[in-house]
Every structure is written in structure tokens, then in C-alpha cells.
Amino acid sequence: MKYMLLIYGNEGEWQALPKSETDQRMAAYRAYTDAMIAAGAMTAGDRLRHSDAATTVRVANGKTNVLNGPYAETREQLGGYYLIDVPDLDAALSWAARCPGASHGAVEVRPIWER
């Protein structure tokens, strides 16, 4: 069963961190990714550019609307994701809890729509 782990965090906070701290967090993410690969749980995963690089598109009445910025202006923004394949929700939740992002932001666990 596939789940997507959506990692939300405060971008401003991240940018304000000293380099030693961001290095340490990046290293934690690398270790986490390696552990998921070793466990055979990892399908895909990426870090996203900050939300000021986001553009939102809507089409209404045949007219395309392009807006600068993310879908929702919230304090915590989607900053990355993992796509994992594990037996059940409990396994997905335990991976989510280990994600470094879960300790400074939040990780949303969403099952992938499967037929």
C-alpha cells in the first residue's frame, strides 16, 4: 500500500537558521532517506523550492488564471514529500514520526488512491 508523506514546515524559520543547524538537518534527512531505502519502503521523494517560487494556476470559464504564490498562504508550507510503499497505516505513521520534518513542522500521511 502506497502513502504520501507531505512535509509541512515554517520556511522563514528554516531561512533564519545558522548554517551549522541547516547542515545538521540536511544530514538527518539524508540518513532518514537512506534508512527508508534500506528498508525497501522508499518509492520517491523530493525537497521542494520555497513557496515564493510557487505559481498557482486555475482555469475558470475557459480563461486561465496564473497567480504568483502558493495555493494557500499559510505559516507552514509544503516543503517536500516522500512516496512510500508499506504494509499498512501503522507502518506509514511510524515512518512519518521518524521524518526530521515531523519534529519541527508536521507530516501529513495520505493513502494513494489505488484501484
Partner: protein
């Protein structure tokens, strides 16, 4: 004759439904990983029983018969639902699994515990956990549950449907948690059972049969949980707590239907048999050496019921137990109870000091028992004006007419001089 056979069959079906529903549903849901599909299959099997049993007689093992039919219905339904490429593979798996189970029919494995843990999974909305357990383990219909929890039937049904969809879509596992996770995972299960009991408890006169039954059903679930998890002290603690409370049910209202506070209850009206069962469960729990909230609350009850032998509650012990409970739960409600116990053990002024300290929690401003306790203690030290004001607030905040009447009587009796 035909009518008699009909009655027998109906009776057998009802008995099986009453005793075996949860076990049959848990078994099917566990296999199918889908509570709704399991419910549908089982409902069809019961419908088939009402057609077949009057004609062919009640089978020797009604549960096994129902399970066989439910399996077939489940496979048929699965076949209808799945037409994609993966249908064949999935169907084969289900058929193989169900057939393997059929081979060892003598004993249907009991997956009720796994089902209860799925219903009270942290990923399920806390408010729907207790209703979900009642529906799946006890076979209550949505309308009955809605009326017991004072929710509109349509809303309750919709929430139950959503919760079951979440179990299927997110693949919440049907399994009993490992020892290491048990402490976190058992808490919501105990909470759901206690919430069920409390709903039943809020109708002490038993005037609404449905709510009264809720307390009985919660005790039944508590017994089931304690028997399936014999090494969990808090499961036994909860069972003891519910039995203690249930034992005092008849003493909580007088002949006129008025509220009787614990301190004024006639111990002769308490149910000895239930108290003994509660003491046994509590003792068994305490031997496991892991204290918890429910054991402590049950111990408080135990210290109250010693009054049946000694003539008075052990207030010093109760105050100490509440102190430990506060450390464990940080609950403002517990803080009030502790203040009352200290007032009994050390005097009203000591109790009032603790109430003042508890009032730092803003939630208490709208909590009836806080104002009632305050009023009572103020009256005892002779501060009639302040007591009257506190009673007035307590009366305004109470929803139960019997307790409101009781508070009004206390309020009216204030003029009489009070001595600590």
C-alpha cells in the same frame, strides 16, 4: 408447526446475533480489511438464516453456518464490485483465505480485540471511536447509537460511514498492538469504553432504557477487554471503576427521583455483588504493579464504599489518591474532588484553599461541580452570602433537573446556621 419453526429460527438467529455478532464481524472484517463490506455480508447471512432455518431447521453450529454464507456473500459482492484487471488476483486471494478458514471451522478465531483497536486507532476521530465499537462489536444500529449519544441519526450514520471508509482507504490494520506500543494504544480504547459507560451513567434512574443499556454494554465490553488482555492492569482498573459506579446506581436517586449525593447515600442500597467483583478486579490489577488513572479512580471508589462496613469513607486515603491522580492527569476536575476530600479530612478551610488554587484554571468558571463544592464549603464556614452566590451559579450551569432541584434545596436551606 410452521409458525413454531419460524419462532425457533428467529430466536436462534437473535441469540447468535446477540452473542456472536462481534466475533463474526471481527473475523470477516479482519480478513477483508473492510468493515462495511463485512457488515453487508453478515447482514445478508442473517437474512438468509431467517429464510433457511424455519424450513430446514436450525443448524448445529449456527455461527459456522452464518460464517460460511457470509463468506460466499462477501466473495459475490467482491466479484460485482471489482471488474478491473486485478479483480481475478484479489478474488483468488480472498477465496483462498476464506476457504483456509473454513477448513478449521470448529473454532472461529476471536479477532474482536484487533477490531476494537482498529476502531479506536489514533487516526480515527476520537468522538466516533465509542460509537464505532458499539456498532461493530455489539451490532448496534446507527439510530440506537445516535439516540444514546444525543446526536441526530443522519449525522451519526454519516460519521460512522466516514470512519469505516477511513479504515479501508488508509488501511488501518486489524491487529493487537505490540507490548511496547500498548500503553499509548490502549488509552483510546479505555477512553471509548468509559465514554460509553458515562453516557449510560448520565441517566441514573434508568428511565431511558437505551442509555441504561449503554452502561451495561460498556461493562460487558470492559469484561471482554479485561479477559482478552489479562495482563493490562488499566483494563482491569477500568472494569473495577465501572462496577463500583454501577453498584451505587440504585442509591443515586431517592423515591421521589431526587439526586442523592454520595455522602448521603444509603449503603444498604449498594449492590454487594458488584462491589465484590470490583474489589476483585482492582486487587488483581494492583498486583501487576503498574498504577494508572483508572486504577486510582477505582481505588477512590473503594475508599468510599468502605463506609458500608466502617460507617464512614476513608477521606484521608481519598485525598492522597486524588493527589496522585492530579500528578498523573493534571485535570482540574480531579483538583476539585481532591479539595472536597481534603475538606472532609482536614476541614473546610483547607478544602477552600485548594479550590482557590484550582480556580486558576479558567475552564472551571463554567463547571457546575466547582461552584457546588465551593458553595458547600463556604456554607460550612458560615459565609452565607458567598455560598448563596456560588449555588446560584451552580444551579444556572446544571442540565440535569434532578441535580438542579438538589442544588436549589441546598440554596434554600442556607439561612439555617451552619457550623463547621
Amino acid at each position: 408447526m410452521a409458525q413454531e419453526g419460524d419462532r425457533d429460527a428467529r430466536g436462534a438467529a437473535e441469540r447468535t446475533a446477540r452473542q456472536g455478532y462481534g466475533k463474526l464481524l471481527a473475523f470477516l472484517a479482519h480478513r477483508m480489511r473492510d468493515v462495511t463490506a463485512a457488515e453487508d455480508a453478515l447482514a445478508e447471512a442473517f437474512a438468509a438464516a431467517l429464510v433457511d432455518w424455519p424450513a430446514g431447521g436450525v443448524p448445529d453450529n449456527p455461527e459456522a453456518w452464518l460464517l460460511t454464507v457470509a463468506r460466499r456473500k462477501a466473495i459475490d459482492a467482491q466479484r460485482r464490485r471489482r471488474r478491473g484487471e486485478d479483480a481475478a488476483g484479489h478474488l483468488q486471494l480472498l477465496t483462498d483465505e476464506l476457504a483456509a478458514d473454513a477448513a478449521g471451522d470448529a473454532q472461529i478465531p476471536d479477532h474482536r480485540l484487533a477490531l476494537i483497536f482498529a476502531c479506536a486507532h489514533p487516526a480515527i476521530d476520537p468522538a466516533i471511536r465509542a460509537p464505532l465499537i458499539l456498532q461493530t462489536v455489539l451490532g448496534f444500529d446507527a439510530a440506537t447509537i445516535a439516540s444514546a449519544f444525543l446526536v441526530a441519526p443522519a449525522a451519526m450514520s454519516q460519521r460512522l460511514v466516514r470512519a469505516k471508509a477511513k479504515i479501508r482507504q488508509a488501511r488501518i490494520p486489524f491487529r493487537v498492538p505490540e507490548r511496547t506500543e500498548m500503553q499509548d494504544r490502549i488509552a483510546p480504547v479505555l477512553e471509548a469504553i468509559y465514554a460509553t459507560f458515562s453516557e449510560g451513567w448520565s441517566d441514573p434512574a434508568g428511565t431511558e432504557t437505551r442509555r441504561r443499556n449503554l452502561a451495561d454494554e460498556a461493562i460487558w465490553l470492559g469484561r471482554l477487554l479485561a479477559s482478552l488482555l489479562p495482563n493490562e492492569p488499566e483494563a482491569l482498573g477500568l472494569l473495577a471503576l465501572m462496577l463500583f459506579a454501577e453498584a451505587r446506581r440504585c442509591a443515586r436517586r431517592n423515591g421521589a427521583g431526587d439526586y442523592v449525593p454520595l455522602a448521603e447515600q444509603d449503603p444498604g442500597l449498594w449492590d454487594e455483588r458488584l462491589i465484590d467483583a470490583a474489589e476483585t478486579a482492582l486487587l488483581q490489577a494492583s498486583r501487576m504493579g503498574a498504577i494508572g488513572r483508572y486504577q486510582l479512580e477505582a481505588a477512590v471508589q473503594s475508599a468510599h464504599v468502605v463506609r458500608r462496613r466502617t460507617g464512614s469513607s476513608d477521606w484521608a486515603a481519598i485525598a492522597r489518591l486524588y493527589e496522585v491522580l492530579i500528578a498523573l492527569t493534571a485535570s482540574p476536575v480531579v483538583a476539585i474532588n481532591r479539595a472536597i476530600a481534603v475538606a472532609e479530612a482536614e476541614g473546610s478551610k483547607a478544602g477552600l484553599r485548594l479550590l482557590d488554587a484550582a480556580a486558576a484554571d479558567a475552564r472551571l468558571a463554567e463547571y457546575q461541580p466547582y461552584w457546588a463544592a465551593r458553595a458547600e464549603l463556604l456554607a460550612r464556614i458560615g459565609d452565607i452570602a458567598a455560598a448563596a452566590e456560588a449555588y446560584q451559579l451552580a444551579i444556572g450551569l446544571e442540565a440535569d433537573p434532578a441535580i438542579r432541584r438538589f442544588l436549589q434545596q441546598r440554596h434554600n436551606a442556607l439561612r439555617a446556621p451552619a457550623v463547621d
